[in-house]
Symmetry: C2
């Protein structure tokens, strides 16, 4: 199994045809996707911009559709929900289609759609994602980053995912340099709220009054589910048995 980590989506990605991709945006969109889909959302529709989100929501029909997302971290004016995991309760989202536009995370999904499979990973569903990708020959982990550049929360989550896979993989796992670096970072940082609070995105969330988002996004293996994108809609796939036990 070959695992490549890519830290910066502003740099060119390799040819992804033939690969399984995991997109990681710990703070916060892949964490939010996990929470929303566990709470019964029908599907998440990523949009590349606020304008495209509004168009897409209109075309889907507004009655069962919620407009969600952020600009500069904050809920977009006129949208139904922002980008905080705590907003995506069953009451708010069960049965709804969620059109989502965020600064970094939703855009990353548009860069990778030629891959064989596109999954959403976060600390919240680390074990489930590891179990789901175990059979891949070629895995590419794409960190959503911040404005296309390196983001520590995503890089460390990528490293934690590689560690999980390596612990269980029976055959050899071949890593690119970024994957080796990511594993080293995941080994040495304490993966918790305090770590997230020290990242630049974490600091920004505290500044804008959303510190509770860090608690939710730091909860490792909170849910044993895997969001998967198919035809530009993200829904839960049935997780495989194995690595998905909470805390495992």
């Amino acid at each position: 199994m070959k695992i490549d980590v890519h830290f910066e989506p502003a740099a060119p990605l390799p040819d992804l045809t033939g690969s399984t991709v995991v997109v990681i945006d710990v703070l916060r969109v892949t964490s939010v996707m996990v929470e929303a889909l566990v709470n019964g959302a029908q599907g998440v529709y990523p949009a590349p911009s606020t304008e495209e989100a509004i168009k897409l929501a209109s075309s889907l029909g507004r009655e069962d559709t919620l407009l969600c997302g952020e600009s500069r971290g904050l809920k977009i004016e006129g949208f139904d929900l922002g980008n905080s995991p705590g907003e995506f309760t069953a009451e708010a989202v069960a049965g709804k289609r969620l059109v989502m536009s965020t600064t970094n995370g939703t855009r990353a999904f548009f860069l990778v759609d030629e891959a064989v499979r596109v999954l959403a990973g976060s600390f919240m569903n680390l074990g489930a994602v590891a179990a789901e990708v175990m059979d891949s020959d070629s895995l590419v982990i794409v960190c959503a980053g911040t404005d296309g550049l390196f983001s520590l929360d995503d890089a460390v989550c990528a490293g934690a995912l590689v560690q999980r896979i390596r612990t269980v993989a029976e055959a050899g796992v071949e890593l690119n340099d970024a994957a080796v670096g990511a594993v080293e970072m995941a080994r040495t940082f304490h993966l918790n709220r305090h770590f997230l609070a020290a990242t630049s995105t974490g600091q920004r969330l505290i500044e804008i009054g959303l510190p509770e988002d860090l608690d939710a996004c730091a909860e490792i293996d909170r849910h044993a589910v895997v969001p998967e994108m198919d035809d530009r809609v993200i829904q839960l796939c049935s997780p495989k048995a194995g690595l998905s036990e909470p805390g495992g």
Copy 2:
């Protein structure tokens, strides 16, 4: 003092006017520059391609000029020297102008020339570079990477440089996420030949029969000098006292 590390030159760099830049290409060009200038080369002229190197050497006059560099790691046909530190002896280079073209390192110098100062860093001159940049308000460390993407040797060297600066800096040092990650990697990897041999560029050098280059490039603080680019020519600047003691 603000320190930003950039891992991937294929991703956009920030506005560098007002910043001091350190370019790092451990394997091998910034290591080679240190060695060549210590051994008396008159100056290094980075070129963005083999063709440009040949043109530049002709315009400088071939008698005191050596064509140096690599393509796919190996010496370019018709060139005088490759890209191995061991080739750049005083016998070979003293008094010569060196026109240099390499896959990653020399190109990185062309991305940063609007900076206030552009220095060349490597494990070989880590302490001298740290001492030289101590007074900067804004330092940007640009890893040359591999084909524009993340390279572990450069990232860890960047982290080691940040650590050195932090040990001595009197005022607070503000790091971007990549700098925090780089420091963590530098703290946990053993900075030696074996580490370099495990990176993807290190593996490539072993494959093409140049393992001895790793020994030279891993030699921390071998020389207390700082190459600096001025008007597209790289020469030694006078190092400041302080951090530059070998092994310090």
